[in-house]
Structures are given as C-alpha cells and as structure tokens.
C-alpha cells in the first residue's frame, strides 16, 4: 500500500501485511511512522516518537 509522508510528501511503501504497531519509515527523509490502523486497501499512520542520539562532544 502507498501512503504519503507528512514531512516531505515522499511516497512510503507500506507492506500489504502490515500490522498495528509496526514501524515504517519514509525513504527520503527518514521520518518514522507507527501503523495505527489497517483497513481494506488503506492504512493510517502516526509519527513515532524520536529517540535522540548522543554524538558525544
């Protein structure tokens, strides 16, 4: 299933057998989404919270 990234309007390919809670990410900008609902032919996502990375100094 195809859906559009909210941040960069890139195309996100969601596997047809995606399940609730699965994480998908936009190939262009890396924003991660959580699958919150799967209905026939469509899926709704919500942004997954970001975990900050410590890069040292």
């Amino acid at each position: 299933m195809k859906t559009t990234c909210e941040v960069c309007s890139g195309a996100i390919e969601v596997p047809n057998d995606a399940i609730k809670g699965e994480i998908v990410s936009c190939p262009d900008c890396g924003t991660e989404y959580e699958v919150i609902e799967v209905k026939e032919g469509g899926v709704s996502l919500k942004p997954a919270e970001e975990v900050g990375e410590d890069w040292g100094e």
């Binding site: 941040v7 960069c8 309007s9 262009d28 900008c29 890396g30």
Partner: protein, 350 residues
C-alpha cells in the same frame, strides 16, 4: 557507435572520462591524446585501467582528433581550451569542454573572476552549461557543452530548488570542503604527503572562481540576482566534495515548503538523492557514500534560532563534479539513455 576523442587524456579528469567511456555501450574511443605520454599505454598513467584496455595515448593534435571523432572531450587546462576550441568549432565536431573557458555567459565575468580577456566571446552563447538537472532540454541535441566546475556542481544542485522557489533572499555563504584530487596530478609542496595529510587547509577564503558559475545558475533558476560568498578548504580525502551552504532567511524557514521546492524540482532526477535520515551514520550528505558514483547527494536542516537553512551537497568531484556531468551531457546530446555508462552505485565502505 559514436566516435569519441579525448584531448588531454593523461590528467585525472581525462583519465576519468576515459574510464567511463570504456564501459559505455554506445561509444568508441578513437583517440586519447597526450603530448607527454604519446605512444604509451594509457594504463601507464591510469593504472586502474590495466586489464581494461591496451589503448595507447595518441599524439594527434586537436584538429586531427576532430577529424576522426563525432564528439571531443576537451580536458585541457583553463586558458588553453579557449585557444583550441574556436578552431575545433570550425570543423563542426561536437565539443564537451571540461575547462572553465566557456562556462560563463558574460565575457566581462572572465575579466572579473579569471583575470583575462576572453579571446572568443562570441562563442560563449553557443555553449550549454553541462548540468542536466538545470539544462536538460537545452542539452538534448546540443553541439557545444561547457561542463561545470566540481564545487559549483555540488553547490548549484543543492541550492537550485531553494533559489527557484524564491527562498534564497539574501547572500548565500558556501563553505566547501574538497579532496586532493581536485587539484590534479601535478606534484608540489602543497601536495607533498607529509604536508597535505590531515590538513584543514583554507586554500581560497574568498573570491573563488566557481562563485561566478554558482551565481549565474542560481540567477538562471530564480530570475533574481543572488550573491555568493564562498570559502574553500582542502581536507583529508582524495575524492569528494561537501558544500555546506548557509542560506539566511527573513522569516522562520518552513520544512514543508523546503521539501516541496526539492521534490518539485528533483522528483524524477536519475542522479539526485535526498540523504536525510533521523537515525544512523548518514543523516546528511557525506562524500563517504557518494564516492565512485555519479550521484549528487542533497540534504538540509532548518535553524529557526537564527532563521537559517543549512544546505548540504556531496559528490565525487571527479565523477559528478567533472567526467560524470560530461558523459551525462553527452548522453543527452546524442539521445542515449541518460544513465548509460553512469549507472553504478557508490563504493561503501571506501
């Protein structure tokens, strides 16, 4: 098969053009000239080509090459090309000039940025700027192409969508980091390993010549006159360029608008990649993952603190920054598949 000649094939750029053309399915290299190494196998100066070709450098002068070829790559130093090219033009051969001599439209710009009076100003209008991302239609069937400078390519490709969308309002600062191969094959104290290794060397803090091209092309896409302040550093790598461009905006930059500008201009571009990620090692463009490919990697970040958009462009300076743009333009010239001879991934790790 289209016959191709390379005038001045012993340098790094000439060698890279040769390497790409040897794996190009639609062309045949009929002459690769070098006064200094005439008669020697090309792999004597391009050892990476050993086992790939037994071609020898020819002693043909440019006109001789033009007589044998349908198209000529001119990989000679700046200032020399503008003496050879007018004669080549008379033969009717198609030309891809790798030097800076025909990149600028305005003859006065050569006085200002290169300090010489252009000997063939009337020819300037005949050359198409060899950057397919901005000039694809003009390149189709073109006879004469001026292939862009390496740092200009990284800066222009990464900044053009913002300029086109009117998001470049004031001066743009381009802070470039470039590898040693950009300085060519001639040894000097500045390329002496013990002095060159590990430097962050400011070799051109202001008035870098590529500024003229970057302004010309950003003005072309934006219709406004953009001024660029560039600073170039040589860093500790052989291939590769990263341009970090600081675009000051009058109001808080909107991420959605910026993406719209990039997506609008580069949606189907075969060699532009968006390198943007929230995790992992490569969250922004980095020459490390572009080297060996013809990709121009683009990325950005917004700084709401000082109203600034930071734009990144990473390329392999010898491929997309020179030979790759040349071959890509040649493909458009002859109606080949634009990716022909260029369709290979980068190396990783390298």
């Amino acid at each position: 098969m289209v016959k191709v000649g390379i005038v001045g094939a012993s340098g790094y750029v000439g060698g890279e053009v040769l390497r790409l053309l040897l794996s190009h399915g639609q062309v045949e290299v009929v002459s690769a000239t070098s006064r200094q190494y005439a008669g020697e196998y090309v792999f004597k100066t391009h050892p990476n080509l050993k086992g790939v070709t037994n071609l020898q450098f020819s002693a043909d002068d440019p006109l001789k090459v033009a007589s044998k070829a349908d198209v000529v790559f001119l990989t000679v130093p700046h200032g020399l090309s503008c003496k050879i090219t007018p004669k080549l033009v008379e033969t009717g051969v198609r030309i891809l000039d790798m030097s800076a001599d025909f990149r600028l439209k305005d003859p006065h710009a050569y006085e200002k940025w290169y300090g010489f009076t252009h000997p063939a100003p009337d020819l300037l209008g005949k050359f198409v700027y060899g950057l397919p991302e901005l000039h694809r239609s003009e390149l189709k069937g073109a006879k004469y192409v001026a292939v862009p400078g390496c740092m200009s390519t990284a800066a222009i490709v990464s900044l053009a969508p913002l300029a086109k969308a009117g998001l470049v309002e004031k001066d743009v600062i381009v802070d470039a980091k470039i590898g040693s191969s950009g300085a060519g094959g001639k040894p000097s104290l500045s390329t002496h390993f013990s002095e060159r290794f590990g430097v962050v060397r400011v070799y051109k803090p202001v008035a870098h010549r590529h500024t003229a091209e970057i302004e010309q092309e950003l003005n072309y896409v934006s219709g406004k006159s953009v001024q660029v302040g560039m600073t170039a550093h040589a860093v500790n790598m052989v291939r590769g360029i990263l341009t970090t461009s600081h675009v000051m905006t009058s109001s808080k930059p909107e991420v959605a608008m910026i993406w719209k500008a990039y997506r609008g201009m580069y949606k189907d571009e075969p060699f532009v990649r968006f390198i943007m990620d929230k995790k992992g090692l490569y969250k922004y463009p980095d020459p490390k993952i572009a080297i060996g490919s013809n990709f121009a990697d683009v990325g950005f970040e917004v700084d709401p603190y000082v109203n600034r958009i930071v734009v990144f462009g990473a390329i392999d300076n010898l491929i997309k920054g020179a030979a790759g743009n040349g071959v890509q333009s040649m493909n458009l010239m002859f109606g080949f598949d634009e990716k022909e001879g260029l369709n290979f991934p980068a190396l990783h790790p390298v």
